[in-house]
Symmetry: C2
Subunit: 255 residues, 2 copies
C-alpha cells in the first residue's frame, strides 16, 4: 500500500486512559490516525448503543495525519459516529484498546473494547482489540509495544477474512518474559458473581456486583492457557453465533 | 419432572412492558416463576453489566409459585442478581422477552433480551429469548402464545446442550398465517447507520442515532428468510465466538 492507511482507534476505558494513549503512540507510525473514544470510562458496556438520548462529539486535537475526538456514548457509538460523521468513509483498519484488563475467554461478551472491534468487522473493516491482563489505571503498557506493532503490521499486510476480527490478549509481564504469540480458540469460562449487600443512610438495601472469573476450558490451544503460560493470545473471532450443524439437526427434530 | 420447575423470566424492555406481561402469562402454567426485570426500558444495552454504581432490587409481587422483582440495572445484572440474591440457586430454565422488535440476524449482538439468555447459558441454565417483529409498545403478542408454549414445552422436555441457548423470533402476523417453526442459522446482516445532526439552544451540535437494518444473508436456511416468509425462526446460539479452524490455521502462519 503506497498511500498511508486510514486507521480508527477507540477503546472503552475512555480517551484519557493510559491504555489508549499507548496504543495511539504505537500505531501512529503506520498511517493517518483518527481517534474517536468515549469521554469517560465505559468498561462493561459491552455492545450497548445509545438510542434513548443524543450523542455529543468533541474535537480534541487536529494535526497532520492525526485527529482526536471524544464522545459521550459507548464504544459502539464511537465507531458508528466515526464512520458516518468524522471520517465520512470506512477506515482501512480499526484498532481498539489497549484495554486495562483481560478480555480473554468469555470476557469478550462483556467487553466494550471488543464490541468496538465487532462493530468494525460488521462494517467490513479489518479490526483488532488489544487487552493487557492488568486492571490497574497505572498498568505498564510498555512491554506491549512490540507485540502491538507486530500484529498491526501483519494485519496491514494481510488484511482479515470477511466477518472475522481478532481478540488479542497480552500477559502482564516484561517483554523478555513473553514466550511468543499464539493463535488460539476462546477458552470456556464463567464469572462466579457475588454481591456486597449494604444499607444506605435511609435503611434501603443496595448491592455492589463483584465476582471472580473461573476458567473451565483446559486445552493448551485456548487463550486462557496461553496467557497463563506467558504467551500473547490471538483469537480470531466470528460474528456468526450459530451453533454447530449437529445441534441444529437435533433441535430440528423437535418440531 | 414431577416437581414444578423453577423458571426465571426477564427482558430488556422493562418490567411494565406488555411483552414481558404476555410471556409471564404464557409461562406461569409451567412452573414456579420468578420475574427479575429492569425497572425501565433497557433496549440496546446488549451485555452491559453495572460495575460503576450500586444496584437496587425491589419486590413487586409475591404469591404462591410467583414472585416479581424489578432492578435498576441491565438485563445481565437482573440475571446475576436473580441467581445469587433472589433465587439463591440456579433456576431450571430462563426465558427472556417477549422483546418488542426483532433480534434476528446480527441484532443479537445489540440485544439486552438475548444478553440475559447468554448469561443464563453461561451459568449452565437452559435459556431461550423470544422476540416479536414489531417495535411498537402496543404490539399484539396474542399470536405468540401458542408458539411460546410449544417451544417452552419442548425445552422443558428436552433441555438444551451445554453452552447452547435459543434465539426465537416471531413474525408480526396472525397465528393462522404462521407457516411453522424453523430451526435456522443466523443471517448475515448489518445496520446502515445515519445520524440526525441537530443544534441545541446554545448552538452546540448533537446527534441522534438512526439507521436501517440490511440483510445480507440470502439462504433459505437463515432466520431472516424464515421471518420474511412467515415462519418462526429458532437459532441455536453458542457462546464460543472462535472462528473456524481453517481461519485459525491461516492466521497461525503469520507468526
Amino acid at each position: 500500500m503506497n498511500k498511508k492507511p486510514l486507521i480508527l482507534i477507540t477503546n472503552d476505558d475512555g480517551v484519557k486512559s493510559s491504555g489508549i494513549r499507548a496504543l495511539i503512540n504505537y500505531i501512529r507510525p503506520y498511517g493517518k490516525v483518527v481517534v474517536v473514544a468515549p469521554d469517560r470510562p465505559q468498561s462493561g458496556t459491552a455492545h450497548a448503543v445509545t438510542i434513548a438520548h443524543p450523542l455529543r462529539l468533541d474535537l480534541i486535537t487536529k494535526e497532520k495525519d492525526y485527529e482526536e475526538y471524544c464522545c459521550n456514548g459507548t464504544p459502539a457509538d464511537c465507531v458508528k459516529l466515526a464512520f458516518k460523521i468524522v471520517m465520512k468513509r470506512r477506515p482501512d483498519f480499526l484498532f481498539s484498546g489497549i484495554n486495562h484488563g483481560t478480555n480473554a475467554s468469555i470476557n469478550i461478551v462483556y467487553s466494550g473494547t471488543m464490541a468496538a472491534v465487532l462493530e468494525g468487522a460488521l462494517a467490513g473493516v479489518p479490526s483488532v482489540g488489544f487487552s493487557l491482563s492488568n486492571y490497574s489505571l497505572n498498568a505498564d503498557f510498555k512491554p506491549s509495544e512490540k507485540i502491538v506493532q507486530t500484529i498491526v503490521g501483519k494485519v496491514i499486510e494481510h488484511g482479515l477474512p470477511s466477518g472475522i476480527c481478532l481478540n488479542v490478549n497480552i500477559p502482564d509481564i516484561s517483554y523478555k518474559s513473553i514466550r511468543g504469540i499464539k493463535v488460539c480458540r476462546q477458552s470456556e469460562g464463567t464469572w462466579q458473581e457475588d454481591f456486597d449487600e449494604r444499607e444506605d443512610p435511609n435503611g434501603r438495601k443496595y448491592y455492589w456486583m463483584k465476582g471472580v472469573f473461573v476458567n473451565i476450558g483446559n486445552g493448551q490451544d485456548t487463550d486462557q492457557w496461553a496467557l497463563d503460560n506467558n504467551y500473547v493470545s490471538v483469537v480470531p473471532v466470528q460474528l456468526d453465533l450459530t451453533a454447530p450443524i449437529v445441534i441444529l439437526k437435533s433441535i430440528k427434530s423437535w418440531f
